[in-house]
Symmetry: C2
Subunit: 249 residues, 2 copies
């Protein structure tokens, strides 16, 4: 089975768009990035690339790969949500990030995965043997450069995450998280004030370095001030400017 049409559509997203669109398509936290790289692909290259992939579906809580395991496949998420996390020596879990449809997963060249990944809900992804994938890239300098630029941008976003998580209050963290999610989902479902939150509160807490109760309290607090409206599996952002202010505090 080769890569689904959906996967390929995801890959070539931005092909006709300006570079700035490609920049937006990088994942905020990790080695995840939608490979806008593919916008540089020639048609014959694209079909060669296409033939490398294979589709998979993962039910909720199914693991895509485990931290420390041999990194022999990379994934392109096509639907659902993937949770990226590490288990600390003290047993706690830290969520590194979330992979949305269009995001790439497992690119790092290290031979082992640096974190674990599992499905937060029913998820489909396109799987590539890592070896073939990286060889394909390394053989094409223009793609290498794109990959480097993409990684570099992911690194900048990781800095943002450090800044956010380090020393701001719970409300600021949650507000920033919501605004961040809004931008990320915009690429998938278009820009909207309704932000999907398929992950649980615990996941958000582990991502922001907050306890589940603090996340819940921050959300209800924002809701009480009519800045957001909590809906099933998501929130509606009612006052973006004020949310931005709170997030920057």
């Amino acid at each position: 089975m080769i890569a689904s049409r959906a996967a390929i559509d995801g890959l070539v997203r931005g092909r006709s768009g300006p570079p700035s669109v490609c920049a937006l398509s990088d994942c905020a936290e990790c080695q995840i990035r939608s490979v806008s790289i593919c916008s540089d692909l020639e048609n014959d290259e694209l079909s060669a690339f296409e033939s490398l992939g294979q589709c998979c579906t993962f039910p909720t809580r199914a693991t895509l790969f485990m931290e420390g395991a041999n990194a022999d496949v990379v994934y392109n998420v096509t639907s659902g949500l993937v949770r990226l996390f590490r288990i600390l020596p003290n047993g706690r879990r830290r969520v590194i990030g979330f992979a949305l449809p269009g995001d790439f997963l497992g690119l790092p060249l290290s031979e082992q995965y640096g974190f674990s990944a599992d499905a937060a809900e029913l998820t489909t992804a396109c799987r590539f043997p890592r070896r073939l994938f990286t060889d394909f890239l390394y053989a094409r300098p223009h793609l290498m450069r794109r990959l480097y630029e993409s990684t570099s941008r992911a690194l900048e976003h990781s800095h943002d995450q450090v800044v956010l998580v380090a020393n701001s209050g719970a409300k600021a963290k949650v507000a920033a998280f919501l605004l961040q999610q809004r931008l990320r989902w915009a690429r998938v479902r278009g820009m909207s004030v309704t932000v999907p939150l398929p992950m649980g509160r615990q996941d958000i807490g582990d991502f922001l370095g907050l306890s589940i109760s603090t996340v819940s309290r921050a959300l209800t607090s924002l809701a009480r001030e009519s800045l957001i409206l909590i809906v099933p599996k998501g929130v509606r952002l009612l006052d973006l400017p004020r949310l931005q202010l709170i997030a920057e505090d």
Copy 2:
């Protein structure tokens, strides 16, 4: 004026070493990395590279570049310590990382610097016009790959930083910081239990997301338990295993 001998020595560090040594030479936090890339350079390439550089010295608190400014030069730190930071909308300062001798600075391809950099003490660095530098790299696929791998590794380290800063206690953060600094300085001054801390307490606090007083308290607490010994401009690590345990908590 061309690149000093010291700068070139810094660049070729690891040339004779195994790949694992190169891996160690990546900066933990940022787009900083000692360009172990150069170990792949042929001699003629190396001299061509050498001629691109120019030496500079910066007194304490002198700024190398400001966040948002046009990123038209990259630096290779040859001595001293460079502080990398961002000023948040609320006026606070967040230290993104520290650049040690051998670290590279400003590689990102974005046209503007993503953070500011200034000298934490008397610092010398080797300056390259960014355009020439990146063109030089982009023209050499094997260097591109090294650069990508290096950036990818920096990203993983950034994840570590997120994990550290997010939800561990003050003592754990400080202990982890000390152990981290020890490894980084090992490349410069050799492995030792005496760790230089040329930066101020405030810098450490802004880096770890702690107040200056908490940093001070954590250090004195560790000292009281005979895990470290505080010396001028540094600490001596007396009990590495137990420090490791504390850092992991």
